[in-house]
């Protein structure tokens, strides 16, 4: 499960993109893990996370399966549930993931996790030097590290840079390149706004690791042709 490791982009475009995971190993530290992961998510709320999910239930951004004409007309779309609603639904650990958009929030969250001592394995997927710096500041010693190396193989089959930057924010590949392209074009043509396009895409990422703030930056850059 390398679902956040291979986010595409240059280091400066990935600077404000931190994914913190909690996981348990079967038979080792999974007893009572559901309650612990609820604590994990509730603690994260203090640091204003961008997204969260656990790949077992629908994440914060989720499709609406029971729309009707009247609902659409009078009530509109409700594409993001309240974090507390999501947390209350968590019944199993899965891979609990929270996305932050700044280093300070990520560091504060890690410090609090350290103090809580939940016993779950916690990982951060981000620029490795940033993570090491934060670890130094809060006196945490990294245990293991997994590096992402460049894509190999038939690279001509990959989509263009902006599209790849958007689609790889769902590591399972649930955001199709054609859909990301439709979102970029829709924003350029004024059919919908940047935030709406980000919400449309976020709903397809079942792990809740899609960074809507970074997606906004990518869409803005793509829209301005930079």
């Amino acid at each position: 499960m390398t679902n956040t490791l291979h986010r595409f982009g240059k280091p400066d475009t990935l600077r404000d993109d931190y994914i913190v995971f909690a996981m348990a190993a079967k038979g080792i530290n999974d007893d009572g893990a559901a309650a612990k992961v609820q604590t994990f998510f509730r603690t994260a709320l203090k640091y204003d996370p961008i997204n969260m999910g656990n790949a077992v239930i629908n994440p914060l951004y989720r499709p609406e399966k029971n729309l009707t004409f009247l609902k659409l007309y009078f009530s509109g779309r409700h594409e993001k549930v309240a974090p507390e609603t999501f947390i209350a639904e968590v019944a199993a650990l899965g891979t609990a993931a929270v996305v932050f958009g700044n280093r300070g929030a990520m560091g504060g969250f890690l410090k609090e996790l350290q103090d809580l001592d939940l016993g779950l394995s916690v990982n951060v997927s981000a620029l490795v030097d940033d993570v090491r710096e934060v670890c130094g500041e809060i006196h945490l010693t990294p245990h293991s590290v997994e590096y992402s190396l460049p894509f190999a193989g038939d690279l001509e089959r990959l989509p263009e840079r902006d599209i790849l930057s958007l689609t790889t924010m769902c590591g399972h590949g649930m955001i199709a390149a054609n859909f990301a392209r439709k979102m970029v074009d829709g924003v350029r043509e004024g059919r919908f706004g940047h935030d709406q396009a980000c919400q449309y895409m976020a709903k397809f990422c079942v792990c809740g690791v899609f960074n809507t703030t970074r997606a906004m930056r990518i869409l803005e850059a793509a829209g301005s042709g930079t």
């Binding site: 499960m1 956040t4 490791l5 291979h6 996981m23 348990a24 190993a25 530290n29 999974d30 007893d31 790949a55 499709p63 399966k65 029971n66 729309l67 009707t68 659409l72 891979t95 996790l113 016993g119 779950l120 394995s121 916690v122 951060v124 997927s125 981000a126 620029l127 490795v128 030097d129 670890c135 010693t141 990294p142 245990h143 293991s144 590290v145 997994e146 590096y147 992402s148 190396l149 460049p150 894509f151 190999a152 193989g153 038939d154 089959r157 989509p159 689609t167 399972h172 590949g173 649930m174 199709a176 390149a177 054609n178 859909f179 979102m183 919908f192 449309y200 397809f204 079942v206 792990c207």
Partner: protein, 275 residues
């Protein structure tokens, strides 16, 4: 995946949503699924919102609006008639879903996703130890997909390098001969969104294995994403980054296990491993 001809109104919203481009509008102007290209990831069914309009009247309204140069266009993430219908899958096609749909639990590993927990739980499992490198080679990612016949080609090449495949990995469980890296024949024509092959080596073997992966990747009709992991020393530093730099890889993005995991289950406390 199937799309109901009775319900579909041909709005084409599902066409770009498919990660494999397997949905097209057919000659009858309704959506249909190319079964060869579909990997049963259920992205269309799971990710799209549904409105429950009746297919017949909506098709009639669409034709009428077209005559007066107007267009019925629902929100881009919406299927207006809930026309997407998952199929009950049988072997070997069910393999597609097991590897492509992240909400399906692999029977072989008991976890969601296409591989194992890798180093994410290394602080309690010590799967990748000091002086070792864990390889996570994902075929088909990002967004290209892969047939198992290509995976077979790669795993046979890696086996030739003497690597031992991770026993708990779903691809390993589908090998007929793990020593030779051979995937069982009845699934070679099955396509998945991606699948992960895992193994570990000694750190000094990393350059040779990287060269082998690079060489075999050039022969595949897909793309490969590669992750390499190791255990840090007591100061939190690791020797792997220097090894990768020497091989020309500027590794700046990573997943870092912070070592906060603890063996907490009652039954595991008496049998703690040195992690």
């Amino acid at each position: 995946m199937n799309i109901s001809k009775k319900k579909c109104v041909g709005c084409a919203n599902c066409v770009p949503v498919c990660p494999m481009g397997a949905i097209v509008i057919g000659p009858d102007l309704l959506a249909e699924v190319n079964r060869e290209a579909c990997v049963e990831c259920h992205t269309c069914y799971r990710g799209m919102s549904f409105e429950h309009l009746p297919g017949g009247p909506v098709r009639w309204a669409r034709r009428l609006l077209k005559k007066i140069r107007l267009r019925f266009q629902p929100d881009p993430d919406l299927c207006p008639t809930e026309a997407l219908e998952p199929e009950k899958l049988a072997w070997p096609r069910i393999v597609r879903s097991a590897f492509s749909d992240p909400m399906v639990t692999h029977e072989s590993t008991g976890i969601h996703g296409r591989g194992t927990a890798e180093v994410k739980t290394n602080d309690v499992t010590n799967r990748v130890g000091t002086g070792e490198a864990g390889f996570v080679v994902e075929f088909g990612r990002p967004g290209v997909g892969v047939f198992f016949r290509d995976v077979d080609k790669a795993t046979r090449a890696l086996a030739g390098q003497g690597v031992a495949f991770e026993k708990e990995n779903p691809v390993t469980s589908l090998m007929s001969d793990a020593g030779a890296g051979g995937i069982r024949e009845d699934i070679l024509d099955e396509k998945v969104l991606s699948c992960i092959v895992e193994f570990k080596t000694r750190l000094e073997e990393v350059p040779g294995v990287l060269s082998a992966i690079k060489a075999v990747a050039k022969t595949l009709d897909t793309v490969v994403s590669l992750g390499v992991s190791t255990r840090c020393d007591s100061d939190g530093n690791d020797p792997l980054r220097a090894v990768l730099a020497k091989e020309g890889y500027d590794a700046w993005r990573a997943k870092v296990n912070l070592g906060l995991g603890r063996q907490s289950n009652a039954k595991s406390r008496g049998t703690e491993r040195q992690a």
